[in-house]
């Protein structure tokens, strides 16, 4: 017999794997899942030439998308489908081709149907390259996946 906490961990992981498997753009970015627990996710990706903008650095939209995927995955781990209401992002340092990025999403607070997340994106050298914040709304719809361990 498994305990409830372990079930919650397993279901969170199953939901995130399922979401990534169906997330065509995150797969285009080469997103990998490093860690999942309820309300917390760590992702990794490598920056490629086809992600750059007119200044030859990583397009801000790609860095945003990477953080946004971390938010989406982390905020859906509870089993209910959530949708994004608002996001903001700052850019403390540049991102270049070849950089290996980590995105760590965690919940800062929640209230009834809303939850508030922060995502820190860091480079291989540890520098923070993006501070992302997102507010999400939790719908009534359950994720089908992982309720019995299946995907």
């Amino acid at each position: 017999m498994s305990s409830l906490p372990a079930d919650a961990e397993l279901r969170a992981a199953a939901i995130v794997r399922h979401m990534l498997a169906h997330d065509v753009f995150s797969r285009w970015m080469g997103v990998e899942i490093l860690h999942v627990e309820p309300a917390r996710v760590t992702l990794r990706m490598a920056v490629r030439q086809d992600m750059t903008n007119g200044f030859g650095v990583c397009h801000g939209g790609v860095t945003f998308a990477f953080a946004d995927s971390a938010l989406a995955f982390a905020s859906n781990t509870g089993g209910k489908v959530t949708v994004s209401i608002e996001n903001s992002m700052t850019y403390p340092a540049a991102v270049r081709v070849g950089d290996l990025l980590l995105a760590e999403a965690e919940r800062e607070a929640s209230s009834q149907r809303l939850a508030y997340y922060r995502v820190r994106v860091t480079r291989g050298d540890g520098a923070v390259v993006a501070l992302f914040r997102g507010t999400v709304f939790q719908t009534d719809r359950e994720h089908d996946v992982g309720r019995d361990g299946s995907e």
Copy 2:
């Protein structure tokens, strides 16, 4: 003899064409330039299957990247290289495969080295799908392009 305002318009257009030509990710998105004038740009793109997320709608990061390109283009039209400091975005309506999106960027205010832009992203049916805001910092570096009409 051309008047100065016409020169400013021509240079703005030359800078934006040059930026898009070198912006690999914006070209991946299929971004087209519809209109350019100083501090104001309108872009168009069509949403494809490879831009979707795990819910089958356009990944928020792609919509953000489209708005962000409009911001980058509009805020560089003055001839100096600008860099993004902070962005925020809301999502009033969903974006689906096949939607034809417009992004209209305009300057709301400016102060010494900072400028403040808003970008509205709309669908073909006129619905607002994203309200994006960006603060940019104007560097001292001049764009090489378009100073003599050349690119």
Copy 3:
């Protein structure tokens, strides 16, 4: 017989007057109502010495509160109680003691239960001193005031 649009205008004005009459902090700021229509409000206030911060200019929180009152008033004009979810603000220019400020709130978009407003705060000389944005959630609760023209 009054037409429906005129009723909507009258009720919007009654709600805003009622809200200001009960809003102790807005009255402390000396907020005056210049114009009300559904989803749009213009307010005025004068900056006093007791609103300044350690640098001798108007405390950013007071400018924010002024814009936030404009958002609250504008977003409640429809007759349902709304609550703020998220706000952001930039500061293109300084605000000094004696400045007469205008706050103009307008709805940029809406979707089911959410609405998205912008508020521009300007000085007497027309300079934009704050660009404020707010996302609000519309509850099911009706304002009692003004349904029959009474307050």
Copy 4:
């Protein structure tokens, strides 16, 4: 002989005390300094009746101003005058008359002239009532105060 870190701590505390002493609006709010170290400040205040809005809860602008003071104090501890560029805030829980609030400001990242702070505002029961984020620009101007321990 004092070590340099201790000097930095002392100067940070002197700057914050000086700023609060001249910050008329923060004194109106009854702000108290609980803790100061470089790039980190904790403040306290009690919510009064004259801080409420039309719904009888604490005006969002007052909560914002409290967080904004924490940001201003924390970001000036390094000895250079800093100014706010952009702020955003969410409201996970309501604030009522009599609530004792804590604001904890800390730096999340920095880059050349910009620094990025988060401020968490909590109630006496530990609930997060506001998540505030601020981007500041560091000027070349030195604070006069505290360079020799004097104020």
